[in-house]
Amino acid sequence: MIEVNGLTKHYGAKVAVQDLSFTAPAGVVTGFLGPNGAGKSTTMRLILGLDRPTAGSSTINGKAYADLTSPLREVGAMLEARAIHTGRSGYNHLLALAQTQGIGRSRVDEVLDIVGLKDVAKKRVGGFSMGMGQRLGIAAALLGDPRVVVLDEPANGLDPEGIRWIRNLLKGLADDGRTVFLSSHLMSEMQQTADHLVVIGKGRLIADTTMAAFVAQASGDAPVRVRAADPTALAEKLRTAQATVETTADGALQVLGLKSERIGEIAAAARLVLHELTPLQVSLEEAFMDVTHESVEYQTDKVPAA
């Protein structure tokens, strides 16, 4: 479990993270979302003891990162993909990390095998593609068989097969009772992977909730799609109930301002036949855009017409 309490980081006058508190529980995948410049990477660096917080603290399984006596066994982290000396082979990079806490060579071979880099293990990292670099970063994170995994944009540079691979890997780790904390720009990917969400904007917490609740909340005033045997009559009844009704191209009604339950009741009272009654859910992407709209750091003035 990762606990963040009142974490604050200022770089000079610039506020990167402000009074941030949240929890990433064990046994689930926690997605960490925010627009560019929201402070995701800074927060991860603070959790991992690379940056010193201006105020506040964070703990991993109850301990500050700097107090971990065998950190790679407790936390596996991948920050930016290339935190690796390009002149060294992948094998030697992992070996040097493993040796700091007495992890054996057999484990180095094992993680290279897990991420599929066995054949290029002795090649210099400088010649790696982005996807290979990413896999090596993941291998380093798995080296100590840690209880907590922290990954910054793990899907970056991976092909679709690689993305599916990492999704299954992370879900498997969470099912095993581990804490998985990851950031990603890929909303559809996050929607498929994460169970819990922490959303930040301009360094502040926007939401700390489950994926289902986050999407449901944003879907609260989403329209309901209705198809009826007599759409004109139904539209008439719904408008009387203060709803906004539009007819879509395929003849269905798009109803705003009434819940699906209420629409069903109105139809039943008027003895009108319904063919379809669907509350439209927004995607994570739409929910995210909606919630973070105010806190986008680098906003374009106008969205060009499509």
């Binding site: 065998s70 950190p71 040796q99 700091t100 380093a140 100590g144 691979w165 890997l169 780790l173």
Partner: protein, 276 residues
């Protein structure tokens, strides 16, 4: 547990082992030798330390008959045989900087500090490994250079034995000077973090500063000059004892070690305090 997660788990169960200085030293040993730049720099340092002494010995012997009395008097068999350190120090200095600045340049430092969050063991291990490698390699090279050069000096019977006064001390001194230089450069690399910046600082302090100080009025120059890093550091690598105090063999080297210690302290404080 899914098949993938089962794979990810550690199959070979190992007893938990904490981060210790000895383990970080082993890690830094692996890091040092797994880079091409290390092997090249050390090869050049060894080649320079042995080769320059032998080359100059051969040239001097070939021109011995043209040298006048005073030139022959100024000739020193011991100092001449270890002269290779003048060139070897550049290779050692650059590598000393790269040992840490290479990590900052590539982002590797963050991987290193994630594994060793106390941070200081990384610096101690780098200093210990690189200083030990430098001392051993340069000592062996200086010994080879000494015996090789003396063999050449037999042509005009100006050779000395390793048992001669100051001979062994000078050979060891060359290795000590380069070892302290290694420490200074790794500390500079830690403080400045950029390769170009740290190498500039090293070259500036060691080789440019004396030229600037020489422009000062003689009385000031004379009082500052012995304290300049290169003048203080090289007293131990010369059989000719030029003076007392800071100009003496061990006095000068002690000043040089003082500079090294000061830079290491600054490097340690900054490494511990700064954001990585």
């Amino acid at each position: 547990m899914s098949a993938l997660a089962e794979n990810a788990a550690m199959r070979s169960v190992e007893p938990a082992a904490d981060v210790t200085l000895a383990r970080v030293i082993r890690s830094e040993w692996t890091k040092l030798w797994s880079l091409r730049s290390t092997r090249w720099s050390l090869f050049i340092a060894v080649l320079a330390q042995i080769g320059i002494g032998l080359l100059f010995a051969a040239i001097t012997m070939a021109h011995w008959n043209q040298l006048n009395f005073f030139q022959r008097l100024a000739f020193h068999s011991i100092d001449r045989s270890v002269a290779g350190y003048h060139l070897a120090q550049l290779a050692i200095g650059v590598l000393g900087v790269l040992v840490i600045s290479g990590e900052y340049g590539t982002g590797q430092i963050r991987s290193s500090l994630l594994a060793v969050p106390k941070r200081l063991p990384v610096l101690w291990a780098k200093l210990i490994v690189f200083a030990a490698v430098t001392f051993v390699l340069i000592l062996i090279s200086a010994l080879i250079g000494f015996f090789g050069a003396q063999a050449i000096f037999t042509q005009h019977h100006v050779n000395v034995a390793i048992g001669a006064p100051n001979a062994l001390r000078t050979v060891i001194g060359a290795a000590l000077y380069l070892t302290a230089t290694a420490v200074i450069c790794t500390a500079l690399g830690t403080i400045i973090r950029s390769t170009a910046g740290a190498i500039s600082a090293y070259v500036g302090l060691l080789f440019v500063l004396p030229g600037v100080v020489a422009l000062l009025p003689t009385s000031i120059d004379n009082s500052i000059s012995p304290y300049l890093p290169i003048n203080a550091g090289t007293t131990v690598a010369s059989a000719i004892n030029t003076g007392s105090g800071v100009s003496s063999t061990w006095g000068g080297f002690a000043v040089y070690c003082g500079y090294a210690a000061l830079l290491v302290v600054i490097a340690a404080v900054l490494l511990k305090r700064r954001d990585a």
